[in-house]
Symmetry: C2
C-alpha cells in the first residue's frame, strides 16, 4: 500500500489569494461599471531590462547553431553568472564570497522551499509573524511541525511576532531554535533589519549552533545607506547564514525565473552525535541530484543584469517602483493613516483604522475606493489589523488609486 506523506494533510488551504479573488469577483459582478485597481499582488509590471532582452536574443541564436548550441550546463550555474554575482553583488559590498558558494536556481521560492531538505526533521524552526508562507509550508510538508492550532499557528514552531509595538524586529526566542528564517526587506511588512539587529541574530546563531536562512530577495529596494544589503556584511555571518537572492524583483524576472542561494563553505550543521558537517557539499549534492540547471538563455539574461549598463537599467526600474511606494506611503499618511515600509521596500504596510480587522478594511477599500490590497492577517496572526499595498503597479494606476483613497474612503 503506497502511503502518502501525511504531513501534507496538515497544510491549510492557500485561503488568502483565493478568498481575495472570490471577493473581487463578487464585487465586480455586482458593480460592473467599477474600475478596480489592484495593489494586491507582489508581481512586477515593467518589461525586462533591455540588456536582458538583447542577451536572451543572442542566446536563443546560439541555440540555433550547432557550433554554439548548449546542452546540459553545470547544475550550479554557469561560471559566467556565478562570477558576476560574486563580483557585482558581494565584492562590491566588501564581502568575499567564492563562486562555488553560489548556486544558481530557478528562483528564491524554489530555494527557500528546498533548502530545508538538507536539515534534520527534528530541528526547531523559528519564523517571524507575519511571514511569507513558503518558509512555514515547506517545513510542515517535511514534518518539522505538529498540527495546526485554533489560532492558525502550528504546534512545534516558534513564532516571532513583528508588529509596530516592537518596531517589526523579531525578539530572540526564549527557547532554543535551530533554523531561523529572516527576511529583510520584509515581505509583507516592508521593514528592514538594522545592522545591530542582524548582529544580534548572528551572535545567537553562533552561540546556539543555529542556522539563519536569510531571504534578501528585495535587497535592491533598499534606499537608506546604513541598511545592510546582505547578511554577510555582518561579522561572522559567513559561518551561520544562508542567503537567498533573486532576479525576480530586482530585474522583473518573475516570469523569467532566476535566483540563487549563497552557502558559504564555513556554514556547518551537525550530526546527531555532534559531528560538524559543512552544509555547502550537502546542498551541492541536493542541487545536482534534483535539479539540472537554469536554462542557458535565462542565465544569459541574468548575467546582463549584472553588467554596468544592466545595473543602470534595473536601478531605474526599482526607482520607478519606489516612487510609487512613496506616492502610496505619503498619500496614506496625509490621511492620518499609520504606515510602515515603502522606504526600503516596494511594500507599504499600514495599520487599519481602529476597530477594524484586516478583512474589514479589505472590503471597505474595495467597496468605497475600488482598490484591492492584501489583508495582513493572511500572513499570520500578528498581521491582523494590518494591510499590505504594493508599489508594482503602473504610475498612472498608483496615482489614481491614491487619489481615490483620499477622496472616496470614508475614514
Amino acid at each position: 500500500m503506497a502511503l502518502v506523506n501525511e504531513n501534507y494533510l496538515k497544510l491549510q488551504g492557500s485561503y488568502l489569494f483565493a478568498e481575495i479573488a472570490h471577493r473581487v469577483q463578487k464585487f465586480k459582478a455586482e458593480n460592473p461599471e467599477a474600475e478596480v485597481i489592484s495593489l494586491g499582488i507582489g508581481d512586477v509590471t515593467l518589461p525586462l531590462p533591455q540588456v536582458s532582452i538583447e542577451a536572451m536574443h543572442k542566446a536563443v541564436d546560439e541555440m540555433a547553431n550547432k557550433e554554439t548550441f548548449r546542452g546540459y550546463g553545470p547544475e550550479q550555474g554557469y561560471a559566467f553568472l556565478r562570477e558576476k554575482i560574486r563580483d557585482v553583488i558581494y565584492k562590491s559590498r566588501g564581502v568575499d564570497i567564492e563562486a562555488d558558494e553560489i548556486f544558481v536556481s530557478d528562483g528564491a521560492k524554489s530555494d527557500c522551499g528546498n533548502i530545508q531538505e538538507i536539515f534534520g526533521v527534528d530541528n526547531t524552526i523559528a519564523i517571524t509573524d507575519p511571514v511569507y508562507p513558503v518558509y512555514l509550508d515547506t517545513n510542515i510538508m517535511a514534518g518539522r511541525t505538529g498540527l495546526v492550532k485554533e489560532d492558525g499557528t502550528f504546534e512545534g514552531v516558534v513564532y516571532m511576532p513583528c508588529t509596530a509595538e516592537n518596531n517589526f524586529t523579531p525578539e530572540l526566542p526564549k527557547q532554543h531554535v535551530d533554523m531561523i528564517y529572516l527576511c529583510s526587506p520584509n515581505n509583507p511588512t516592508g521593514t528592514t533589519l538594522s545592522r545591530d539587529e542582524l548582529a544580534k541574530w548572528v551572535k545567537y546563531a553562533k552561540e546556539n549552533k543555529s542556522i539563519i536562512l536569510y531571504d534578501a530577495a528585495y535587497a535592491y529596494y533598499i534606499t537608506e545607506d546604513d541598511v545592510p544589503r546582505t547578511i554577510y556584511e555582518i561579522e561572522g555571518a559567513k559561518e551561520v547564514a544562508i542567503e537567498f537572492r533573486s532576479f525576480s524583483k530586482t530585474a522583473g524576472f518573475t516570469g523569467t525565473r532566476c535566483g540563487y542561494i549563497v552557502l558559504p563553505k564555513a556554514v556547518k550543521g551537525y550530526t546527531k552525535d555532534g559531528k560538524e558537517q559543512a552544509l555547502n557539499p550537502l546542498w551541492n549534492r541536493r542541487h545536482t541530484t534534483k535539479f539540472n540547471g537554469t536554462p542557458y538563455i535565462i542565465q544569459r539574461g541574468a548575467e546582463a543584469v549584472l553588467t554596468e549598463e544592466g545595473q543602470k537599467q534595473v536601478k531605474e526600474m526599482v526607482g520607478y517602483y519606489m516612487e510609487n511606494a512613496k506616492i502610496i506611503r505619503e498619500g496614506l499618511a496625509s490621511l492620518g493613516l499609520t504606515v510602515f515600509g515603502g522606504v526600503n521596500s516596494p511594500y507599504v504596510w499600514l495599520k487599519v483604522p481602529a476597530g477594524m480587522t484586516s478583512w474589514d478594511f479589505f472590503d471597505k477599500l474595495l467597496h468605497e475606493a475600488n482598490i484591492v490590497g492584501t489583508p495582513g492577517s493572511g500572513f499570520g496572526p500578528s498581521g491582523e489589523n494590518y494591510f499590505r499595498l504594493t508599489a508594482f503597479g503602473s504610475r498612472e494606476n498608483t496615482l489614481k488609486a491614491v487619489e481615490r483613497i483620499k477622496t472616496q474612503l470614508k475614514l
Copy 2:
C-alpha cells in the same frame, strides 16, 4: 544545534562520470596526439528546432513590452502548453488526459527527484538494476533506504535485475513493494517494455495498491509500432501510474529545460489508517509551494515543438540520432559483439567480451580506439559486463568511431 539530514551521508559519491573524466584526462595527457571521440554522455548535440528558436525570439520580444510582458505565470504551466501536451502527446494516442493532470516543470530530472516527497517514508521502493541514479539517490536522501551494502546496493531497496538473461524485463518482486520505478525506453539499456509487460505491472500495482513511476523521457525514440509510447495506453494505468516526460531528448532541450509530469486524478495513495488520498492535489500543492513555473519564454519554445511543423522538425532530429544508433549497433554486431537497444532508443547496450569487466572494456576502447563510452557497472551491479554507447554524437564522429572500433579494437 542545527541537525543535518543524515540520510545524505549514506549517499555514495557520484563516482561514475568523475572516474571517466579522470581516466580520459590521464589518457589525453599521455597521448596528446590522440583524437578522442566521446560516445559516453547522454547529451544532445544538434541545435534546437527552428520552430522553438522562432517562438522564443517572439517570446523574448513580448517580455520587452509592457503590454505583452509576463510576470508570474501559473506554477503548473500555461494552458497553451498543457493543452498542447494533452492533445499532441496523449489524445493522438487515444489516451484521455486532462490538462489539469499535466504539470509543466523544468525537466524530468527534477520531477523524478521531487515526486517522492508526496509519499510516506515507510514505503518500499523497487528499482531496476541497472538504473538511472536519480530514482535511488532521491529516495536515499528522503530516508526510504538503509545503508549501502558491500556490493553497492542499499538495504531496504528491492532491486530488479535486467540482463540479457531475462531479456531486460524486470520480474515482479516476490515481496510487496509500494513505489515502482520503470523507465522505457530504458536508460541505460536502450530496451523497451512491451504492452504485455506493462500490463503485468499495472495489474501488480492495482492488486498491491502500489504506484508506478514511469519515466518515458525517451518515448520519441521508439520506432517499432507495437511498443507503447505512454503507460496510459495500458488499461487501468490511469489509476496507478505517474508518467514523466521531457523536451530534453525529444527536442534538444537539455540546456533549455522543460519537462512535465502526468498525474491522473484517479491515482490514489493511502494514509496509514487506510484512507484513500488522491495524489494529484498533493502534487499540485507541492508544485505550487516549491516551484514558481517554467520560464514563459521556454514554455513558448516547448509549445512550438508540439505544432505540426515542430513535430516534423523533431522527428527529423530524432531520426538523425536513430540513424547514428543504427550505425553503432550494426557496426558492433558485424564484429560479433552482442548488442541490445538502439532500435527504440538512442542508447546501445553491449555485452563486453567474455572475461572482461565493464571498466576493462572502457580502458580497452579508450586505448585502442580512442573512444569514450560508459561502463555498465556504473549504473548498478547488474550492469557489470555491459557497456553503453550513445547515438547523440555527430554523424561524422559516429562513423569515425565505428570505423575505428572495426579496425583498431583487438577482439
